[in-house]
Subunit: 286 residues, 2 copies
């Protein structure tokens, strides 16, 4: 199967799971359930949960083994987007061509919707303990890993650093550190919880972590290059390309993509889709 | 020991644990760690984590068995307060006589601080799995119970209903339902995770749940009566006393307190401090 078809298949599995599993708009309190579905079922790429499913298959396990946790990671990603879009943060009116949550439901509901997506995302990861073939212990480790990757030493710390970055210039090392925290951390969580639930060994988990860091950096710098070129965001908004220029950014994306591929060398040709996905990130145009 | 001294002793244990365990203001990113400590180490009553410690002792176990989870419940309570105080929610400038988080750190930091307190609170509950004498399984159940009590069917659902309540009148049954969700649910979580970690049986867990519902109702209506009398909150803000008057409110508080005590009959005189705590809630003046 070609990568595009493979990704499409996995994306439909995630979308179907979320569509069926998220609380219905008919269930009280209807308002927050409608709001949650609005911000989750919105045509997202589902990159993070697809990585969780891909990791199970990389380790020779069926994707069904990790499906609840994969869906949980997507909800946690959506939580971070809903809060990021709020007026006190990025103050974005649109996301993926649709009005952002607070533009439709108001700030109070958007705030609580983000909170609820975080709680429900963690609950889906916990529910993965009930899947046949998953040990209670690996499910606890998956929750632990997710909480670690979300905390102030990782994702939320990266978001705080991002706010400071608006106020003062940062060194290249600091910018890379911010990207590792705000973007790579949740991608690492997606990969590593897939690995933990599918009983990866220590070497495999370490390879997945390294891959997540590198692909996260490549992904974020690419995102910023695309934004910078389209001038979608304020030109004052600091980013890697705004600081170091497009040429150096493209060279760094290329390097991180190469290093991402190298991280997975121990999986040999079983990592085929991962390696192709790296090229997809490197050459994407939107 | 008298109840007041017992509560003071337990409160100091919680405060000491949080003071030592919360990330230092010196650790990067310093801003969010300073902000978290500001909103946690603020002289709170620590009612919820004290209930967790009391539950372990009620079941004949040392309070140390449940201390990390108790601290986690307090962080989760603080998360809900920081988000509740935000301009888009209650827009409060002061809490416990100090400026609210967003008045000191700004809205963006307050938003992320709430998120971080929720994540770290859940992590502390997970860490309770590492306490000697606690089974991995009961720790997973404690996380599950907490997530259940936080979700849109419980605490976050109660907060959404509370927003709607500003817009339209509610029946008495609906008001009680809102209080059960927005206030009793986290108190139930505090009691029940204490019970789960200290290996309570099904009957004991059910008694703790019922006690939590009733004491939560009595606590919230008392809070609203005190606010109503002092006219601290806007007179337009809906509440049980604003809807049904002080006389009926006091009668209901009395009834819920009696029912709270009755819930614990199976513990006989071991529940001494719980019963005295009910009187403390019933007759408190601030």
């Amino acid at each position: 199967m070609e990568l595009a078809a493979y990704l499409q298949e996995k994306r439909e599995i995630i979308d179907q799971y979320l569509t069926e599993k998220l609380p219905s708009e008919k269930e009280a309190p209807a308002l927050i359930h409608r709001s949650m579905r609005y911000s989750v079922l919105n045509g997202g790429k589902r990159l993070r949960p697809i990585l969780t499913l891909m990791t199970a298959e990389l380790l020779g396990k069926p994707y069904e083994l990790v499906l609840p946790a994969a869906a949980g990671i997507e909800l946690i990603h959506c939580f971070s987007l809903v809060h990021d879009d709020l007026p006190c943060m990025d103050n974005d009116d649109y996301r993926r061509g649709k009005l952002t949550n607070h533009k439709v439901f108001g700030e109070a509901v958007a705030l609580l919707t983000g909170d609820a997506l975080l709680v429900l995302g963690l609950e889906y990861i916990r529910q993965n303990a009930e899947v046949e073939g998953v040990s209670k212990e690996s499910a606890v480790k998956a929750i632990q890993k997710t909480l670690e990757m979300l905390g102030t030493r990782k994702m939320l710390g990266g978001q705080i650093d991002d706010i400071n970055w608006q106020l003062q210039k940062q060194s290249e090392a600091k910018i890379i550190d911010i990207y590792l925290k705000k973007t790579s951390a949740l991608i690492c969580a997606a990969l590593e919880i897939g690995g933990l639930l599918a009983q990866a060994n220590v070497g495999e988990l370490s390879a997945l972590h390294s891959f997540g860091e590198k692909i996260g950096l490549a992904f974020q710098i690419t995102d910023d290059v695309l934004d910078f070129e389209k001038d979608k965001k304020s030109p004052d908004k600091p980013s890697y390309p705004a600081t170091f220029g497009i040429k150096k950014s493209l060279a760094e994306i290329k390097r991180y993509c190469r290093e991402a591929k190298e991280s997975l060398s121990l999986f040999e040709n079983k990592a085929k889709y991962f390696l192709e996905l790296v090229d997809y990130v490197q050459y994407r145009k939107e």
